[in-house]
C-alpha cells in the first residue's frame, strides 16, 4: 500500500479513500467527538489512553472503544467482552465509546475496518481487539511493577486490581494508568492470547450493553437529533427507478406553514425543507412536481418474471460456477429423475427507524449525524458530495434503529442529506424519509428463480445434480467491476461453494453442475440479512427434500448419506436433529421439516414443527435452530440473533413480496405489506455447538435454514412441495 502524507483529495473514489485511510493523518488533532453519546456509554472523567482500545479513568472504570456499528446485533457487547477478557478489568468497570471515522483516519486507521456487515463485526476484528486488551493489561502491570520496583512476573491482576502478594501491596488500573500510557507497548505479535476455553468474561451470556437507555426513551437515535437552528427535510425520489425529476413548482407550497424552500436534490429527487419535519412532509405532499418516468415505466413483475424464466434455460452468457463430473449426462441416465422450479421475490429491509441523516456544511467543514453500518463509507460519501477533503469531514455515528444490510454500502441517504444541506450553508438540516419513501426506494433483496434437476440411481443415491439460478445480481448494481467477464458472478451462488470456510456446500454429489444466468432488472438491489444464502438455502434444501422423498428415504438420513466429508455441517445437523426430536412422535396434525446450509463462516441447521389447517392456514409451532460459529463470544446474544433471524426469515416466507407495476414498487407501507407480528411467533430453541477452531459470523448464518425447514414441514404435512415465496400466495387445499 502506497504511503501518502495527505488525506485523499476531494471527490476521492472509494478505492482511493481506502488506500489513504490506511496511511493518512499524522498532524491532525485527535480527540473523541461524541457530542450525543448516551449516558450509558459516556466516559465518566478524562482518563488515560493506555492504547487505542483502552482508556482507564481515575475511578477505575475502563472505556473500551468500539469501531464497528451497533444495530441491535450485539457486536458492541461482544467486542467489549473480548477486550475486557484480556484486559482483566472486571466487567462491571466496562464502559464503551464509539470511534468516529474521522478519528480513525487521523490515526492511520488504528481501529481497523469500521464496516459492519456480512456478519464480520466480531470475526474479522477479534484478533486485534483481544491483542489490544492484552497489551493494555501488560502496560498497566508494567507501570505498577516499575513503581514498586518488583519483577512484573510477580504481579497478579483481577478486576482491575493489581496485587504483589510478596509485599502485600495492591493498586488499581485507575492509579497506574497515566504511567502506563507513557510506556512503549509490547509487540502485538509477541502476545499470547488466552485459550478461549478458559474465558470468564468472553464466552459468557452477559446482558447487552445499553439496554436501560432503550427502555426509557432516552437513547438518541439519529432521527431524534436536535441541533440549534436545525431545519427539517422531507424527500421524494422519482417513483420509477431510473426516471428523472423534470420540474417542481415551489410557489404551490410557499404559503404553507413552516415551509422554507423546495430544493432539487439530484436529477431524480426533490426535497421540501421546513421548520419541522411534519411541515416538510405536508409541503412535499402538496408540492406540484413533474417526472419523466422514462422507459422503465413499462416494467412490471410479469416482464421481470419472463426475463428470469428465460434465464433458466438460456445457453449463452451462463456462468458454470461448479462443474464436477457430468451432471446432465448422469441425470439423463439415472433410474429416477426429479425436477423443480423455485421462485423468490424482491423484499425490502424496512428498518424500523426509516432512513435519515442530518448534515451541516460550511465552507471548510462538512458533518453528518447518521445511523450507518459503514462509517468510513459515510465519510467517503460526505467528502465526495460536499467537495471537501476527508480531513475536513466528520461522521457522528448514532446506534442504528435497524440495519439488516440497508445502511452499509449504499450511502444514498448521506449523499441526499449533504446535497440538501449544501443549499443551506452552516445550517444543520435533518432529512427523514417517510415509510413510503423507505419501502419504495430500498436496495432490495434480489429477485431470482431456480431450476433444479436431480438423478437417483437404482439404489436411490443422488448421482447427479444440476442447479441453474436465474436472477438479478447485487454486484451488477453496486459494483459491476467485481464480476469477471461481466457475467461470472459467484456472489449470487453463495452457499454452493466448493472451497471450505465461508459458504461451502455440505454435500458430496458425484456429478454436480451449479450455474448462474445473470438477468438484471431496473430495480435497485443490495445486501439483505443473509444475502444470497436466503434464496439459495431455500432452493437447495427444499429440493433436497423433494429428492429424498422421491428416493423414499428419511429426510435426515438422506442428507447424512452425502455428508461424510463435511463433519462440521453434519455436526450441527445432528445436534439440531437431536434437540428437535427428529423421528419422535408429534401431536396429530403437526409435521416436521429439517434443513442445513452454510454462510458467513458458520454452520447452521434447523427443524420446524408445522401444521396446515383444513382451510390452508399454516402455523409454525416450534423451531430448533443450531449454529456452530467456531467460538461463541456471548451465547445469550447469539440466541437473540438466531431468534431475530428466524423472525425475519419467517416474515419473508409467510408474507413478504414486493411487486413492480408501471416501473415502480407497488407496496408502500405496512397496510399493503404485512410483516410478521408477535402472534405468529413460534417457540424458538437454540443449539450452539462451538468447536473452538475457527471464527464464524452470527448475525446472518441461521436465517438461510429457517424457510426450508418450514417449507419441508409443509411438504410433510400436505404431501406437496411449496416452491414459491411467500406462502400467502400458496394454495394447499
Amino acid at each position: 500500500m502506497k504511503n501518502r502524507k495527505q488525506a485523499a483529495p476531494a471527490n476521492a473514489s472509494r478505492r482511493k479513500f481506502i488506500i489513504s485511510t490506511a496511511a493518512a493523518g499524522g498532524g491532525l488533532a485527535v480527540g473523541f467527538n461524541l457530542p450525543f453519546a448516551n449516558a450509558a456509554t459516556k466516559a465518566a472523567a478524562p482518563g488515560a489512553e493506555v492504547n487505542a482500545w483502552v482508556v482507564i479513568n481515575p475511578d477505575n472504570t475502563c472505556v473500551i472503544r468500539i469501531a464497528r456499528s451497533e444495530m441491535g446485533q450485539g457486536t458492541e457487547t461482544g467486542l467489549a467482552q473480548l477486550v475486557a477478557e484480556e484486559l482483566e478489568c472486571g466487567w462491571k468497570n466496562v464502559r464503551t465509546e464509539f470511534v468516529t471515522p474521522g478519528n480513525n483516519l487521523a490515526r492511520k486507521r488504528v481501529w481497523g475496518e469500521m464496516g459492519t456487515g456480512g456478519s464480520r463485526g466480531i470475526r474479522t476484528s477479534e484478533d486485534y481487539v483481544r491483542r489490544g486488551g492484552a497489551i493494555a493489561r501488560l502496560m498497566l502491570l508494567q507501570a505498577a511493577a516499575d513503581e514498586w520496583k518488583v519483577p512484573v512476573g510477580e504481579l497478579t491482576v483481577a478486576d482491575g486490581v493489581i496485587t504483589h502478594a510478596a509485599s502485600k501491596r495492591s493498586t488499581t488500573y485507575g492509579k497506574v494508568a497515566a504511567a502506563a500510557a507513557k510506556l512503549t507497548p509490547p509487540d502485538a505479535k509477541s502476545i499470547k492470547l488466552k485459550d478461549p476455553r478458559t474465558w470468564t468474561v468472553a464466552g459468557q451470556p452477559i446482558k447487552r450493553i445499553g439496554t436501560p437507555t432503550r427502555l426509557d426513551g432516552s437513547l438518541v437515535y439519529a432521527i431524534d437529533l436536535k441541533l440549534p437552528g436545525m431545519l427539517n427535510a422531507a424527500i421524494k425520489a422519482c417513483p420509477v427507478f431510473g426516471g428523472k425529476l423534470v420540474s417542481f413548482d415551489e410557489s404551490s407550497i410557499a404559503k404553507m406553514p413552516g415551509i422554507k424552500r423546495a430544493v432539487r436534490v439530484n436529477d431524480y429527487t426533490v426535497a421540501v425543507v421546513a421548520d419541522t419535519w411534519w411541515h416538510a412532509k405536508k409541503g412535499l405532499e402538496a408540492l406540484k412536481m413533474v417526472w419523466d418516468e422514462g422507459p422503465n415505466a413499462s416494467q412490471s413483475s410479469a416482464t421481470i418474471a419472463e426475463r428470469l424464466k428465460e434465464g433458466l434455460t438460456a445457453t449463452t452468457n451462463v456462468f458454470a460456477f461448479r462443474n464436477e463430473g457430468d451432471a446432465p449426462k448422469a441425470i439423463e441416465g439415472a433410474a429416477k429423475k426429479v425436477e423443480a422450479v423455485y421462485t423468490t421475490p424482491f423484499v425490502p429491509h424496512i428498518t424500523m427507524e426509516p432512513m435519515n441523516c442530518t448534515a451541516r456544511i460550511t465552507a471548510d467543514k462538512a458533518e453528518v449525524w447518521v445511523a450507518t453500518q459503514n462509517a468510513e463509507a459515510s465519510l467517503a460519501a460526505l467528502s465526495e458530495q460536499s467537495g471537501l477533503p476527508l480531513d475536513k469531514c466528520e461522521v457522528y455515528k448514532h446506534v442504528l434503529g435497524g440495519g439488516f444490510g440497508r445502511r452499509g454500502g449504499p450511502q444514498d441517504y448521506v449523499r441526499q442529506a449533504v446535497d440538501i444541506a449544501k443549499q443551506f450553508p452552516g445550517i444543520p438540516v435533518k432529512m427523514i424519509w417517510s415509510r413510503e419513501e423507505d419501502m419504495t426506494h430500498d436496495f432490495y433483496r434480489p429477485i431470482s428463480q431456480c431450476k433444479l434437476t436431480a438423478g437417483l440411481d437404482a439404489d436411490n443415491k443422488l448421482v447427479g445434480l444440476h442447479v441453474r439460478v436465474s436472477g438479478q445480481s447485487i454486484n451488477a448494481w453496486v459494483n459491476p467491476s467485481a464480476i469477471p467477464d461481466g457475467y461470472k458472478d459467484d456472489r449470487q451462488l453463495q452457499g454452493w461453494d466448493y472451497k471450505p470456510g465461508d459458504a461451502q456446500l455440505g454435500y458430496s454429489v458425484p456429478n454436480l453442475r451449479i450455474e448462474y444466468a445473470m438477468r438484471n432488472t431496473h430495480v435497485p438491489v443490495g445486501a439483505w440479512r443473509g444475502v444470497n444464502t436466503n434464496q439459495n438455502g431455500l432452493y437447495m434444501e427444499c429440493f433436497i427434500e423433494e429428492v429424498a422423498r422421491a428416493a423414499g428415504v428419511d429426510s435426515l438420513e438422506f442428507r447424512r448419506g452425502m455428508m461424510a466429508k463435511f463433519p462440521k455441517h453434519l455436526g450441527v445437523l445432528n445436534a439440531v436433529a437431536e434437540k428437535g426430536d427428529w423421528g419422535k412422535p408429534l401431536p396429530p396434525g403437526v409435521f416436521r421439516g429439517i434443513a442445513q446450509f452454510m454462510g458467513y463462516g458458520s454452520y447452521s441447521a434447523a427443524t420446524a414443527e408445522v401444521s396446515v389447517s383444513p382451510t390452508g392456514e399454516v402455523k409454525v409451532h416450534r423451531m430448533v435452530l443450531g449454529v456452530n460459529p467456531g467460538h461463541a463470544v456471548n451465547p445469550h446474544q447469539i440466541a437473540a440473533q438466531i431468534e431475530g433471524g428466524a423472525v425475519m426469515g419467517l416474515s419473508a416466507l409467510m408474507f413478504e413480496e414486493l411487486t413492480v407495476e408501471n416501473g415502480r414498487i407497488k407496496q408502500d407501507n405496512f397496510h399493503a405489506y404485512p410483516v410478521m407480528r408477535l402472534a405468529q411467533m413460534p417457540k424458538i430453541e437454540t443449539v450452539i455447538v462451538p468447536t473452538f477452531d475457527f471464527w464464524g459470523g452470527i448475525g446472518e448464518p441461521t436465517i438461510c435454514v429457517v424457510r426450508p425447514a418450514v417449507m419441508n414441514a409443509i411438504f410433510a404435512a400436505t404431501g406437496k412441495p411449496v416452491r414459491a415465496e411467500p406462502l400467502k400466495n400458496a394454495k394447499y387445499v
Binding site: T211, R214, V220, T351, V399, A640, L678
Partner: protein, 154 residues
Amino acid sequence: MAKLNINGRTRDVNVEADTPLLWAIREQVGLTGTKYGCGVAQCGACSVHINGEVRRSCSVPVSTVKPTDKIVTIEGLSRNSSHPVQKAWLEVDVPQCGYCQSGQLMAAAALLKKNPNPSDKDIDEAMTNICRCGTYQRIRAAVHMAADMAKAKA
C-alpha cells in the same frame, strides 16, 4: 395552538389542528422516545397512553385531544424505569436495536393494566406492534414476567 397534558405537565403547542400528536410530542414538546415508524397506525412505534388507553399517536390529530386528556409517553411511564414492564424488559434483555421498544413497552403496560394476568392468546391479541429485529419471543416472556412482578408486589 393547543394545550396538551403530557406526563403530568401542561404544554402549550403551536401546531395546526391536523398535526398528529406524534409530531407535536416529538417536535414541539421535544420528547423523542416516542418513535415514527409508519405514520399509518400499523407498526405501533408511536404508541402512547391517552387516559390509560394505548393509542397510536401518529394517527391522532392534536385537535381531537382535550387539554384534560392525560397523555403518557415512554418518558413518563415511570420514575427511574421502575414500571414492571421496564424491569422485566431489562431482566429478559428484550431490546435489540431498541427503536420499537418504547411502543412495545407502552402497549404492554396498557395490556397489564386491563388484564393483570394475560394468557399467551391475550398477548398475541394485544401486542401487535412490529419489531423488525424479531424480539417477539422475549417480549412474550417479559410480559409474563412483568405480570408476575406486579402480582408479587400487590
